[in-house]
Point group: C2
Chain length 448, copies 2
């Protein structure tokens, strides 16, 4: 294979470009270094023969490029993100988070795995084809956004208004890594999300709690409202919430049963003796993949310091993230939630919508899914770990629902690469394997 030779001969330049990319902070949560990073990414792409543009959105810019191929009429859309999580807590890093220092064979940096390593691996695969064969196996479009770590708030409108530019035959969401077993991980979709804040107000100010017999306590109101939304037992009690939840297909259940799920290791890592309701094995996995959730992400009211203070709070707040499974619709559910609270006497509890994402799913038989699975076996010598959808959420619906394409989530980061945590890392070995994985995905996609 020509590209392996090319890759070997340009290995050190490749890793140097990677370090340069890592040394440019791009923290979307704080608006730090975003535009500089988009510009740097464009420069690297241009240098590698991939003509890129920095395009505006209503938020942070996207970096976009097309690479044409005469080998195929097929077009692969590759999505990823150049923004990174905040590096805090800084004191836990063994080297500076934007220094990209190599420590014991690991390149340590915020973004090393999530997703700057991924981005440069796919770009390097295309560059290798350009240098050795003149063109990649398929037409490729790159779409790198700068807001993934803050929930992709402007991606849907950007994709809506650039449908033609983004037309393709399949999508690789290239933002992930290897399963702890060392096998690639492929998710055929994501959960959706409805994120709300419940708010309630009482008196003008916090009062002495001797007033409790006659003055409303908004903390009780929020507690009672929450309890009606999800009573003990854990099933969401909002009428109609489960209407659109469909059962897993035989094919999906088969995929599920093939996922290695090391529950004892997981329990130990998380510090719990049992999973919720004592579920085990496949049952626990099924919940992770198929269960809609109502999670209290935060709750606050009154005095929360040490010791006792007899205060009757004047306001209370709870944040809930509802994860949604196919085919739940966050906008419909938001209306059902309002109706639910109204009918139970909680008109005083305000619902503030803080975020929505549609759930999304691609069938395992989709060409891009098959192409990725085959590439995994070829490059890593092992079947991938395939999830019908991930337990987490993401902007997958912009590809499946807005563009109407099939999409998979995969990537080449090392197992347990500490994405979002201190000492995030990548290795040269994984970067190189990633280039081959990307190349093989393109090769396979051409033939499917």
């Amino acid at each position: 294979m020509n590209i392996i030779k090319h890759l070997e001969s340009t290995r050190s330049e490749y890793i140097e470009s990677f370090r340069k990319f890592l040394r440019q902070p791009s923290v979307s949560a704080k608006g730090v270094g975003i535009r500089e990073c988009a510009r740097l990414l464009k420069d690297i792409m241009d240098e590698w023969g991939i003509d890129a543009e920095v395009l505006p959105t209503d938020g942070n810019p996207v970096v976009y490029a097309t690479v044409e191929s005469k080998k195929s009429e097929k077009t692969l859309l590759v999505y990823s993100h150049y923004d990174v999580q905040p590096p805090e807590p800084l004191e836990e890093w063994i080297s500076q988070p934007f220094e990209a220092k190599t420590v014991e064979g690991k390149i340590i940096a915020r973004g090393a795995a999530d997703a700057k390593g991924n981005i440069l691996a796919f770009l390097k695969a295309v560059e290798s084809y350009l240098k050795t064969e003149g063109e990649p196996p398929v037409n490729v479009k790159f779409l790198f956004e700068g807001e993934e770590e803050i929930g992709s708030p402007h991606l849907p409108s950007f994709v809506e208004s650039h449908r033609d530019m983004l037309s393709a035959d399949g999508v690789v969401c290239w933002d992930g890594g290897l399963h702890p077993s060392g096998r690639p991980s492929i998710s055929l979709g994501v959960k959706g999300m409805l994120y709300v804040e419940l708010r309630c107000r009482g008196a003008r100010t916090d009062l002495h709690s001797s007033q409790a017999p006659i003055i409303v306590n908004p903390a009780w109101r929020v507690v009672w409202a929450l309890n009606t939304i999800k009573p003990p037992g854990g099933r969401i009690a909002v009428k109609g919430w489960y209407d659109d939840v469909r059962s897993p297909t035989e094919e999906e259940l088969k995929l599920l049963s093939e996922i290695p799920f090391e529950e004892e290791i997981l329990k130990k890592e998380l510090g719990v003796e049992e999973f919720l309701d004592g579920v085990k094995g496949l049952e626990a996995l099924k919940r992770l993949v198929y269960e809609p959730t109502a999670n209290i992400a935060g709750i606050s009211s009154g005095y929360t310091g040490v010791g006792s203070k007899t205060v009757l709070p004047c306001e209370a707040m709870a944040k809930i993230d509802f994860r949604l499974v196919v085919d739940q619709d966050p906008y419909r559910l938001l209306k059902l939630l309002r109706k639910h609270l109204d009918e139970r006497g909680f008109k005083d509890v305000e619902i503030v919508e803080l975020g929505t994402l549609l759930p999304s799913r691609t069938p395992p038989s989709a060409p891009i899914a098959q192409a990725t699975m085959k590439a995994s076996e070829k490059v890593y010598g092992a079947k991938p770990v395939v999830y019908p959808n991930s337990a987490g959420s993401g902007p997958d619906f912009v590809f499946t629902k807005i563009l109407g394409l099939h999409s998979v989530w995969t990537g080449c980061s090392p197992p347990l690469a500490k994405a979002h945590a201190p000492n995030e890392f990548n290795t040269v070995e994984h970067m190189v394997k990633g280039v081959l994985y990307a190349a093989e995905i393109m090769e396979n996609f051409r033939g499917l």
Copy 2:
């Protein structure tokens, strides 16, 4: 009356001593100036002919004195406190909180009303008798503590171990002031208190909320536990909680119906349109005086900043203050609460006891109650506003239950004197009236 003449001739020295007392900070919450203030109080008492001692407790010292009288075999125990609330927020004071400056006829200082003004008024009354008649109308014992503003944690053990020293025929808890109507306010008791913190833990650390289908969320556990303790409707659902609650007597109900309750002004001040459950008038007042409460004073879990963060919290906490009415017992109720949570499957919810106070009540017919009511009419020319007990709590049980005495709560601070708030004040007029009120209480108590 001799003492009026004496009071007029020593008026400026009296107010100077008061200012000196105010200028000595004594913030028990921060441990600032406590010992210096106890010493200063003793010095003032000594100077006025009232031999005082500074006695140790397991916390801040008490200042104690006895003044004997040949006129009567009766002994009146006068309780108050020399510690004050923290002065914060400092920027809202129109003069320095420990400067004791006179602004538009008001002496502005932290403690001016609560309770340094009260203390000096009663001392001045006794001093006036000593100077004019050689002795007060009854034997007097003074007990001034230095921890009232932090919940009197060491007063019960001090009183337990000084029963003989504190023997008396009645108690005036001299720590209060005039009703907004200008009439003295007398409370014949207080509510008790059980202050607890509910705590629950889940995983080792906060997790990504995609784990919600299989990992326990302690915020839900605490919400569900709270809901079982007090479901919507507001009645406490812990079995046996109301067992010892007794109905108001005819006498008490009569007192209640005589209390001026300006509910529209109160609602406006608190910024609420309605009282809880739409109660009005006497019904609202009855609740304030007779209803046990379960108040969420604070609740906290997970991410509570702005915007959305999908976190599965690893811990949750709620603070509840339960106010208790006669004859509820906080220790018995604590056990009932534990049993309640255990029986409902909340063994994982820890209960941390943060404070207990027994409820306490003195009958209106008690001699000290009658003496105080009569003194009010004589000095202020108006019937006092008499509460069967206050809606708040205090260490009254050390007198009624440990010493077995009758006790009333009253005082001479101006109406709306801003105790616990910025610009707390007193006036010379109220200080002088207070001396006469104290004198008249002693006179009346001798005859009853």
